[in-house]
C-alpha cells in the first residue's frame, strides 16, 4: 500500500466526524483535559441551555358560594402521592453511562469497559430514534399555524421587557383543552391549532410527545401534563375522557380538596418536580381556589449542551438596551455555519450536542440597526425559520465571530387575553362554555385563567480569550462573503428549535 492510497481512503471518514470538525475549535483546547476522553468531556461540560415552562388551565364554576365548603379539617402533611389517582407512564430511556460507574478501587477508570458501555448506549439510543426523528405533519403544521398567530399577540404586551413563551407546550395544553370541551367551544380551539378533527389531533399529539421526549442524560426534553380534580361529589367527571388524557397526553391524574393548602402544595410540588425547580419563584405563587372544578397543567423542561461550548474569556461589554446601556457578560466563539441575511435582520444558529442523534439548535435573530425586535414578530422570513411556510432568507456558509450575552430570562403571564384575541372566546364565557366532554353537570363551567410561566437560561464554561472587531451589519441584505461578526449587543429574538424548525421556546431578550 502506498501512503497516497491511505490518504485517498480518508474519504471514508464518517460524515459525523467531518461535520463535527467544522463546528470550530470550541472545547478542544483544554489543557487539563488532554488525558480525558471524549465521554468525560461531555459529562464535565456545563449545561448550556436550561429552559422550563408551565401552563395551568383552570376551569372554574360561576361562583356559587353555597355549593362548596372548604375542607379545612386536614391537618396531616400530605405528599403528592396521596393525591395521585393515575400516574403517567414515561418511556424508559437508557441513561448515558457515567465514568463514575467504571472507577476502580484505586481511583483509576476502566476505560475499556466504559467505552463499551458508551458505544452500546449510543447505538441503542440511535436505533430507538431512527424511526421517529421528525414530528408528524399534523403537529408540525399545527404548531406553525399557532406560532404565526400567537407570536405577535403574546409579545405585544410588555414591550421593553424580556418575554419568552413555548409555542409547543401551549399547543399541547390547548390540545388537552380541546379534549375536555365540546361543540363550538372545541371548534374555536381546534381552529387556532390548525385542525378540525380532535381525533387527528389526539393521534398527532401522542406521536409528537414520543418524538420530542428525551431523557437520556445527554439531551433532556421532558414534557409532562397533569389533571387536577376534586375529590368531592360536586362534579361527576367523565371517566372515558380522563383515561384518554392519561393515555394519549401522558397526564398524571390527581384528586384532592380544591382550595386546600395541602392540595395546592401538591400542585406546586408537581410543577417544581417537572421543571427542575427552575420556576420555583413563580410556582410559589400558584394556587387553585375552592371554586376550581378542574385544572390542567402542562410543563416542558429542556436542557442541552452546546455541541461546542463557548471558549475564550467571557468579556464584560455593553448591551444597548432600550432603557440605556447596561454591562453584561458576552460569550465569544468563532464558528463556521450558515449566516442568514434577512431583509431586516441577520440570523445565526448554534447547534446542540448531537450525541443522541437529535439535531436541536438555538437560533438568534439580530434586527438591523433601526429595526425593533417587535417588527420581526410578523416578518415572514423570521417565521420561515420558525417552521412556518414562508420563504427563507438567503444564507451562506461562512466563518462567524459570535458574541452572545449570557442571559437568564423569565416571564409570567396570564395568556387568557391573548387566547381570546386568537378566537378562543366561548371557553372563557360562563353560560356559553361547553365542557361537556369532561363533566356531566358541566353547564356552569368556564375557563377562569391560563397561566403561562417560562424561563430560559443560557450559559457557557468560560475559558480564554479572543478579541474581535465590531462591524455594523446594518442594511446588508446579501450575506457577507467570507467572514462576519455577529454581535448580539442590542435587543434580539431567539428560538430553541428542533431540527425541522419547530419552536420549543421563543423569546425576546431586552435586558440580559
Amino acid at each position: 500500500m502506498k501512503s497516497e492510497e491511505l490518504f485517498e481512503h480518508m474519504s471514508a471518514i464518517d460524515n459525523e466526524v467531518l461535520v463535527r470538525s467544522e463546528q470550530d475549535g470550541g472545547n478542544v483546547n483544554r489543557g487539563k483535559e488532554t488525558g480525558l476522553r471524549r465521554r468525560n468531556k461531555i459529562l464535565f461540560r456545563a449545561a448550556a441551555v436550561v429552559a422550563a415552562m408551565f401552563v395551568i388551565v383552570s376551569v372554574a364554576w360561576i361562583v356559587k358560594s353555597d355549593l362548596f365548603r372548604r375542607n379545612a379539617g386536614t391537618e396531616n402533611e400530605r405528599y403528592l402521592s396521596q393525591y395521585l389517582l393515575a400516574k403517567a407512564e414515561y418511556p424508559e430511556e437508557m441513561k448515558i453511562p457515567s465514568v463514575e460507574q467504571y472507577r476502580n478501587a484505586d481511583g483509576s477508570v476502566d476505560y475499556e469497559q466504559y467505552d463499551r458501555a458508551y458505544d452500546d448506549w449510543r447505538r441503542k439510543v440511535r436505533q430507538g430514534r431512527s424511526t421517529s426523528t421528525s414530528l408528524s405533519a399534523v403537529v408540525r403544521n399545527g404548531i406553525a399555524v399557532f406560532t404565526e398567530k400567537s407570536l405577535p399577540k403574546l409579545f405585544a404586551e410588555e414591550a421593553g421587557k424580556n418575554r419568552v413563551y413555548s409555542p409547543t407546550n401551549l399547543y399541547m395544553a390547548l390540545a388537552m383543552l380541546a379534549e375536555i370541551t365540546d361543540g363550538n367551544t372545541r371548534a374555536q380551539i381546534l381552529k387556532v391549532l390548525g385542525t378540525s378533527d380532535v381525533g387527528e389531533l389526539r393521534a398527532a399529539v401522542d406521536d409528537a410527545w414520543k418524538t420530542l421526549y428525551h431523557d437520556d442524560g445527554a439531551i433532556t426534553t421532558i414534557l409532562a401534563s397533569s389533571l387536577w380534580l376534586r375529590n368531592d361529589s360536586s362534579v361527576s367527571y367523565i371517566k372515558e375522557t380522563i383515561d384518554r388524557l392519561a393515555a394519549n397526553y401522558h397526564a398524571s391524574v390527581f384528586s384532592g380538596t380544591m382550595g386546600s393548602e395541602e392540595y395546592n402544595k401538591a400542585l406546586r410540588t408537581w410543577l417544581n418536580e417537572q421543571t427542575g425547580g427552575l420556576l420555583e419563584e413563580s410556582v410559589s405563587q400558584q394556587s387553585l381556589d375552592a371554586n376550581t372544578a378542574l385544572a390542567v397543567a402542562t410543563t416542558l423542561y429542556y436542557s442541552a449542551k452546546w455541541d461546542q461550548e463557548f471558549m475564550g474569556t467571557t468579556v464584560k461589554d455593553k448591551f444597548h438596551a432600550g432603557s440605556g446601556d447596561i454591562e453584561c457578560d458576552f460569550m465569544k466563539q468563532t464558528i463556521t455555519g450558515d449566516y442568514y441575511a434577512g431583509d431586516r435582520f441577520a440570523a445565526v444558529y448554534k447547534n446542540f450536542e448531537y450525541e443522541s442523534n437529535t439535531l436541536d439548535n438555538m437560533i438568534f435573530f439580530l434586527p438591523d440597526e433601526g429595526v425593533s425586535v417587535e417588527e420581526l414578530l410578523e416578518d415572514p422570513q423570521v417565521l420561515a425559520m420558525l417552521g412556518c411556510p414562508h420563504e427563507q432568507p438567503q444564507s451562506k456558509f461562512i466563518t462567524i465571530h459570535l458574541s452572545v450575552p449570557k442571559f437568564d430570562v423569565a416571564s409570567d403571564s396570564n395568556v387568557s387575553g391573548c387566547l381570546q384575541q386568537l378566537g378562543i372566546t366561548d371557553a372563557f364565557t360562563s353560560g356559553t362554555a361547553d365542557f361537556s366532554s369532561i363533566a356531566e353537570n358541566a353547564k356552569d363551567l368556564y375557563l377562569s385563567k391560563v397561566d403561562h410561566s417560562v424561563r430560559v437560561q443560557i450559559d457557557e464554561e468560560g475559558v480564554k480569550a479572543a478579541a474581535y472587531t465590531v462591524l455594523p451589519l446594518a442594511g446588508e441584505v446579501m450575506p457577507p462573503e467570507e467572514e462576519a461578526d455577529f454581535i448580539l449587543d442590542r435587543p434580539f429574538l431567539f428560538a430553541i428549535r428542533t431540527m425541522n424548525g419547530t419552536p420549543l421556546f421563543i423569546g425576546i431578550v431586552e435586558n440580559p
Binding site: 501512503s3 485517498e8 460524515n15 468531556k41
Partner: protein, 189 residues
C-alpha cells in the same frame, strides 16, 4: 437557501440548484481543493468538476449533509488532479506533506510490493479507517480529519482549535501510530 431546497431543485433538474450550490459552497470547496493542490487555478477546475459530479449524482443520491457530500467530491477530483500533476512533475500543496506523514503508518515505506490494492482491500481499508477515526476522542478525531481529509496545515489546525502547533503534531503523531496498529490488527498491512 436551505440545503434541502437546493437538493429539491437538483431533483427537479433545475439548474438554479447548481447555481445556488456554487454560490453557497463555491468558496468552501475551493479551499478544500486548494489545500490539496496548492494552486488556485487548478482548484477552480476541481470545483467545477465537483459541481458537475453533484449534478450527475443528485438524483438518485440524496446527501445527508450537502456540504460534506460536496467536500468529498471535490477532494476526489483534487486527488486525481494531483496525481496528474505529479506525473507532469508539478504540484505541491499541503497534501504532499500530509501524505508524507502517512508513510509512517506503512511498514517499509511506500515502495512495498503490494503497491496496488484491490477492490476488496479498498473496501476493508475504508471500513478500518472509518472505525478508527470514529473511535478517536472528539478532539483527536477532529484534528485527524482536518489534517488527512481536508489537508489543512498544522498551523491552520492549531489556530482553528486554539492549541499550539507542537500539540497538534503530538496528537497527529500519536494517531498515526495508533492507525498503524489498527491497520496491522485488521491484516491490512
Amino acid at each position: 437557501m436551505e440545503d434541502s431546497q437546493i437538493i429539491d431543485l437538483l431533483f427537479q433538474r433545475d439548474e438554479t440548484g447548481l447555481r445556488e450550490t456554487e454560490q453557497k459552497y463555491g468558496r468552501y470547496l475551493h479551499t478544500v481543493a486548494e489545500h490539496i493542490l496548492g494552486a488556485r487555478e487548478d482548484a477552480e477546475e476541481c470545483v467545477n468538476d465537483a459541481l458537475l459530479s453533484a449534478w450527475n449524482c443528485i438524483p438518485p443520491q440524496r446527501p445527508m449533509v450537502l456540504r460534506i457530500f460536496l467536500a468529498r467530491l471535490v477532494r476526489n477530483h483534487a486527488i486525481n488532479k494531483r496525481k496528474a500533476m505529479l506525473r507532469d512533475k508539478r504540484g505541491g500543496g499541503e497534501a504532499a506533506l500530509a501524505i508524507e506523514e502517512l508513510e509512517e503508518c506503512i511498514p517499509g515505506g511506500t515502495d512495498t510490493e503490494s503497491a496496488v490494492i484491490d477492490e476488496e482491500m479498498s473496501r476493508q481499508l475504508s471500513q478500518a479507517i472509518r472505525e478508527f477515526v470514529s473511535a478517536l476522542s472528539a478532539r483527536d478525531g477532529n484534528i485527524f480529519a482536518r489534517r488527512y481529509f481536508f489537508s489543512e496545515s498544522v498551523a491552520e489546525i492549531a489556530e482553528r482549535y486554539g492549541v499550539t502547533q507542537a500539540n497538534v503534531n503530538v496528537i497527529l503523531g500519536r494517531a498515526r501510530k495508533k492507525l498503524k496498529a489498527h491497520l496491522t490488527k485488521k491484516g491490512l498491512l
